[in-house]
């Protein structure tokens, strides 16, 4: 049955569907409904909801629960996710599967509480220290918030990697219909590495991140890099919208992508051959989707320009890439994007 849900609630419902057993969090606007939903519903499904004393504490509780083999998650918004970065680096270093949700708001600093996409660098390039990556997923509507959460847990277990769901205050706060019956079934993975007691095993399972021997640490880091390369080959994903015959591509993720689609529909009515490429995975970045003979690319973000760098890398400077952004909690309007498209089309015609 189709339910009307907030994006934040859809993530929580998706996580429970995916069999999350531990949620640790700390309230912050605009993601608090996620924790509230968990507080109400997770205990009923046999899980543990715990409001930690801080974001730092919550992410380290995730480390503990994940080490013991449980599906675990935490959620926060931008300033809170900055606090979690040390823990995220440790989770990546220990190859621990977990799901971290960032419902982005305007920054830097405490910034504001209105929606933003300015944490792209932090999520995709690594906000913590060391050579590591997260798989980063970017849902574009409320139904996808639930669906991608199920996927996030599966990817985390499959690759033994922390997965971040990078979304924003609009998608978190807005209600839309979700068909909970159509969610994919969760997958199961053996966790023979989990710290669950010796139980007659010949070897000890140890989860740790300290390797004082440089040679040993390099070997471990390079093995993990090898894993990242495989993830890049197998998991990159994007949606193409009216892109078949397009000269111009508008690229955007999350809430911005749907505003872009509306602008593209209008530009199509004005006779411009324009389409949308919407990355669903931000890491791995779906580079191949940009190399299909397009003449120009416009990257739209709620930031001063972060994903645009990955778009430029994807086309290896072979295609002109322009940028349009609003920041600080401002949301680009359909008409603003439409005007930029028309401007680009006009330049093309000259």
């Amino acid at each position: 049955m189709k339910e009307l849900m907030k994006g934040n609630e859809a993530i929580a419902a998706g996580a429970i569907h995916a069999g999350v057993k531990c949620f640790f969090g700390y309230p912050i606007t605009p993601q608090t409904e996620l924790a509230a939903y968990m507080a109400k519903h997770l205990p009923k499904s046999g899980g543990v909801f715990l409001q930690a004393e801080s974001e730092v504490s919550a992410i380290n509780m995730v480390y503990g629960a994940s080490s013991a083999g449980f599906r675990a998650m935490t959620s926060s918004s931008s300033p809170g996710v900055s606090l979690k970065q040390e823990g995220i680096s440790f989770l990546a270093a220990a190859d621990l599967p977990c799901v971290i949700v960032n419902v982005m708001r305007g920054g830097p600093g405490l910034g504001g509480i209105q929606p933003s996409q300015a944490d792209y660098f932090q999520a995709v390039k690594g906000g913590g220290h060391g050579d590591y990556r997260l798989i980063v997923l970017a849902p574009g509507n409320v139904a996808e918030m639930a669906e991608m959460t199920v996927k996030a847990f599966d990817l985390a277990d499959k690759w033994r990697i922390p997965v971040m769901i990078l979304t924003d205050g609009v998608l978190g706060q807005m209600m839309e219909t979700v068909d909970m019956d159509s969610l994919p079934e969760r997958k199961y993975y053996d966790k023979e590495w989990a710290v669950t007691g010796r139980s007659g095993r010949a070897h000890k399972n140890i989860v740790k991140t300290l390797h004082l021997d440089a040679e040993e640490l390099e070997k471990i880091v390079l093995e993990r890099e090898e894993k990242y390369r495989r993830i890049e080959c197998e998991e990159a994903d994007a949606e193409e919208y009216r892109a078949d015959d397009a000269d111009i591509i508008v690229t955007a993720y999350g809430i911005t992508s749907r505003i872009a689609k509306a602008a593209v529909d209008r530009a199509r009515e004005s006779g411009v051959r324009v389409g949308v490429v919407r990355p669903k995975t931000l890491y791995p970045f779906p580079s191949e989707f940009y190399n299909k003979g397009y003449k120009k690319i416009l990257c739209v973000e709620m930031s001063t320009g972060q994903m645009v760098e990955d778009v430029k890398l994807a086309v290896k400077c072979g295609v002109p890439v322009e940028f349009y952004g609003r920041t600080g909690g401002m949301i680009p309007g359909e008409d603003e994007i439409y005007e930029r498209i028309m401007m680009m089309a006009k330049e093309d015609a000259k």
Binding site: K2, L4, T29, P30, G112, I113, Q114, G169, V170, Q173, M174, M175, E176, T177, I255, R258, I259, K261, A262, A263, D265, I331, G333, E334, D335
Partner: protein, 178 residues
């Protein structure tokens, strides 16, 4: 078809709830819908609003720049939003004189509903009733059903009564002040 509604008023007047009722009713009518609440400093200062986009196709932006309809439950909301609505404004009849909005403005008496105080605190539902009477998007039956779906047992009846009251009050024969 795309129809955009802003509902605004003081915190506690049921602004968000009114939006949820209409959102649920729109789903029952077979439409796509987005419901976006204000969660910014203005809400913390006492006023709240929510934005509804109703469409027969997938919705782009849930953020409204120009609305088709506005429910303004207090004067500050009417002042703030009247310039960004093009078709219909539902508000308290006391706020109507001198509104100066380009949209058709329907003033509803919410003080002495039904000759008494039986709809006390239900301005939101009265205005929902008035709105659905004046726009062609919703069916009254679906709004009633929506209320039954999202309220606690025993509450729906009085909410539905208020919707019906507003629906009657906004009848085309009523005086319109523009």
């Amino acid at each position: 078809m795309e129809y955009k509604i802003i509902i605004a008023g003081f915190g506690g007047q049921g602004v968000l709830f009114a939006g949820k009722v209409l959102a649920r009713a729109a789903v029952l009518c077979g439409y796509e819908v987005t419901w976006l609440p204000s969660y910014g400093p203005e809400m913390r200062g006492g006023t709240a609003n929510c934005q509804l986009v109703i469409s027969d196709k997938l919705i782009g932006s849930p953020v409204i720049k120009e609305a088709d309809a506005l429910i303004a439950m207090n004067l500050p909301s009417l002042t703030r939003f009247k310039g960004s609505v093009c078709e219909l404004i539902i508000t308290d009849e006391r706020f109507v004189p001198g509104t100066g909005a380009r949209a058709e403005t329907v003033g509803i008496s919410t003080e002495m509903c039904n000759g008494g105080a039986c709809f006390d605190g239900l301005t939101n539902m009265i205005m929902v009733g008035a709105l659905i009477r004046r726009c062609d998007i919703f069916e009254l039956e679906n709004v009633k059903k929506a209320i039954e779906m999202i309220t606690k047992p025993g509450v729906a009846e009085v909410d539905i009564g208020a919707v019906e009251y507003g629906y009657k009050k906004a009848d085309m024969k009523q005086k319109i002040v523009s």
